[in-house]
Amino acid sequence: MFKKTNEKIYHWMDERFNLTPLIEYMQHKQVPVHKHSVWYYMGGVALFLFIVQVCSGILLLLYYQPGVDSSYESVRFIMTKVNFGWLVRSVHSWSANLMVFFVFVHMFSTFFTRAFQKPRELTWVTGFILLALAMGFGFSGYLLPWDELAFFATKVGTDIAGAVPFIGEAIKIVLRGGEDVTGATLSRFYAIHVAMIPALFTVILSLHLLFVQRQGMHEPDYYKNLKPEQKKTIPFFPNFVLRDVLLWLIVLNVLLFLAVYFPWELGPKADPFASAPEGIRPEWYFMFMFQSLKLLPAHVWFMEGEVAGILLFSVAGLAWMLTPFWSIKFDKSARFNPMLFIGIAVIAFIIFMTILGYLM
């Protein structure tokens, strides 16, 4: 009876939207199985965490009220009075951090397996844009509870943006909605966090997923050279998707563990007239840049140290985004792999500067 109804609905839909080819495509799509297959799942985990972000974010929206006199109070209300509000807020904060972490993992795994190469250049570029947007999500969301640390971290962050040559001051004023971090900044960050970035993110993410679906999974070189009968694969649907779901469930459990045992804190309310508290630091994924800027000398060549640092990071970021277009071809007979070296150097730099940032 139940099966029959299902079939009826399917036929009704299929008649109108021609679903069969799509289902067949998914069933025929194969995912390679090899020793690096585990990295295929990282993007999926990041996607899952994004879905968690959207769901928990929508729930927070039901009670959150942006405004100098209401932001902090409403977040406090969510955490103390709303049923399971503490859980939703904590999950939202933890999930945001885990999402950025998995996007980084996904990106570096793509880099080291050289999955960015032709024909996947645009998948890489859209992926990089998604990372930048995820960091934008983090930066704009950090201010929304309007607590002391968030307030001063935003002040420092927007100050750094203000140091960009020529357009910095304009960017700073646009971001802040004036000279200082005020209620206007809060409204702006709210709009950026819940409307602008989500809209952009959805478009870019759709493109990214579309590219992945159209081109299929990247095959590492050694796998590509195997004879067809030696190439082990599994169907994308349902085998790969079910494995994805299994991993998502584990991540969900980890997320719940973090939210329950390490609930996200809410500091004292922001006071624009108070002096900056000690230990203002950005979110961990900005730390390596923040620390590098701090360590730069006052003057580099003819520029201010901070300006030089920002320029350097902008150029490095742009170069990283355009990796598929300049990547150095690796001759298998040579012992030295320049791209591997670059990747390790970048990771080492990020980890070293982040640790230094937390120690200093």
């Binding site: 349902p238 779901v245 584990i250 563990f257």
Partner: protein, 426 residues
């Protein structure tokens, strides 16, 4: 010319060897205009306690401002002549008038500080020090005994001998000297006692300038030991409610009749200790039993008040411990904190109401506090319960998720197996 040159050289050499906290910097300027200073430096006859930071020096009132004379003249005889208004060093008896010459003249003082009091000399002559000085006792304190003669600084300056934190030491310089005070037949251990008292610890140890020093109870220029009638007013100038309750109570009237010192009878004077609930009742530490018999009406009231206070204090402590646990568990303790603040307020008020010696009034306030403390405990328990509920919830969620994971794992294995079989068949 040669004379001036010589003075500059000698003064320069002198400046090189003198103590660093001594005159420096401004001396060169003063030397050009003030011959008193330059000459006294040259002759090494500056007063021992001379300090360029003296308030008078800072306001351009150098030696001649008090001692008269003509500082513009470099001829000693002319500069220190009677014609030039030179009055020299005043005798002990002359000092109050000597300082009062300016300090009692509001017309003059107004140019420095419009709101400065000018009744110091008047007050001084009404103080025990002043009265005795008038009678010829030259051992008593005069202005310079407390303020120094040449290192006078405003009382708000931490370097001043009359700065709040320095007052006890300043008074103790004479009052703690057994030999010096022998003929007056008064105790000399006030400072030792004061230093151990609740006021002394706050002032000297915790450096709380709001805590009372000697002058806050005894007065400063009009210093007198507080008498029976004034003692509760002295304490009451800070402890307003306590004084009011005591004055309005039957106990207050009885004390007056019996000519007993108000606050001092129970709390002591210089050695006044931090109060505790043990002070009331009939136990060993209770001060009530100093006068009351264990079975009289007063002892009954004291016992009841003690019981009420300890009940609230214990409940408050219990609520506080629960709040700490809530805080430690990372749960929300804001509302509990507010309730505790209110309970603490009630406890303080109930303790103050002890001075009414009315157990009914104390009981009403205690009940108010108990209500708040009980609410705080209830709220804290709810938070602690919620803390464990979250963990139990997590346990249940983990169980369900693990079941799903296991089921999914077997499903995947089954599908993989089916695929393999399909391939084998092919």
């Amino acid at each position: 010319m040669k004379n001036i040159f010589l003075r500059i050289v000698v003064s320069g050499l002198f400046l090189l060897f003198i103590k660093p906290d001594f005159i420096l910097g401004d001396v060169e300027t003063l030397m050009k205009t003030d011959n008193c200073i330059s000459c006294h430096i040259e002759e090494e006859e500056l007063p021992e306690d001379f300090n360029k930071h003296d308030i008078h020096m800072q306001k351009d009132l150098s030696c001649s401002g008090c001692h008269g004379g003509n500082p513009a003249s470099d001829d000693m005889d002319e500069a220190m002549s009677i014609e030039a208004g030179f009055v020299g060093v005043p005798s002990k008896k002359e000092i109050p008038e000597f300082c009062g010459k300016c300090h009692s003249d509001i017309g003059f003082m107004r140019s420095y500080q419009p709101r400065i009091p000018t009744d110091q000399t008047d007050q001084y002559y009404k103080s025990l020090h002043g009265l005795r000085l008038k009678k010829g006792d030259t051992k008593v304190a005069d202005c310079s005994s407390c303020h120094t003669a040449h290192s006078i600084m405003p009382a708000s300056d931490p370097r001043s001998s009359v700065y709040a934190l320095n007052v006890p030491e300043t008074c103790n310089a004479c009052h703690g000297d057994e030999e010096y005070m022998q003929e007056y037949e008064i105790p000399t251990d006030q400072f030792t006692k004061f230093a151990k008292s609740v006021h002394g610890v706050a002032l000297l140890k915790e450096q709380d300038t709001g805590a009372p020093a000697c002058n806050d109870c005894h007065g400063n220029h009009g210093a007198m030991p507080p008498g029976i009638s004034s003692i509760s007013h002295v304490c009451g100038s800070c402890h307003v409610n306590n004084m009011q309750y005591f004055s309005d109570s039957r106990m207050g009237a009885a004390f007056k009749k019996e000519k007993l010192h108000g606050c001092e009878e129970c709390h002591g004077n210089h050695e006044v200790q931090k109060t505790s609930d043990e002070m009331i009742g009939v136990d060993d530490k209770a001060v009530c039993s100093n006068c009351h018999e264990p079975d009289d009406k007063g002892a009954e009231v004291a016992t009841e008040i003690h019981k009420q206070l300890t009940t609230l204090a214990t409940t408050y402590e219990k609520a506080l411990a629960q709040q700490k646990e809530v805080e430690h568990k990372g749960m929300d303790d804001l509302d509990i904190e507010f309730l505790l603040q209110e309970a603490k307020q009630s406890l303080t008020q109930a303790r103050t109401l002890v001075h009414t010696f009315d157990s009914v009034k104390v009981t009403v306030k205690v009940k108010e506090g108990l209500g708040k403390a009980d609410l705080a405990i209830k709220e804290a328990q709810a938070q602690i319960e919620d803390y464990y509920f979250r963990r139990r919830g997590f346990g249940a969620a983990t169980f369900i998720i693990t079941l799903l994971i296991v089921a999914l794992f077997f499903k995947i294995r089954e599908i993989d197996q089916r695929n393999l079989n399909k391939e084998d068949r092919r």
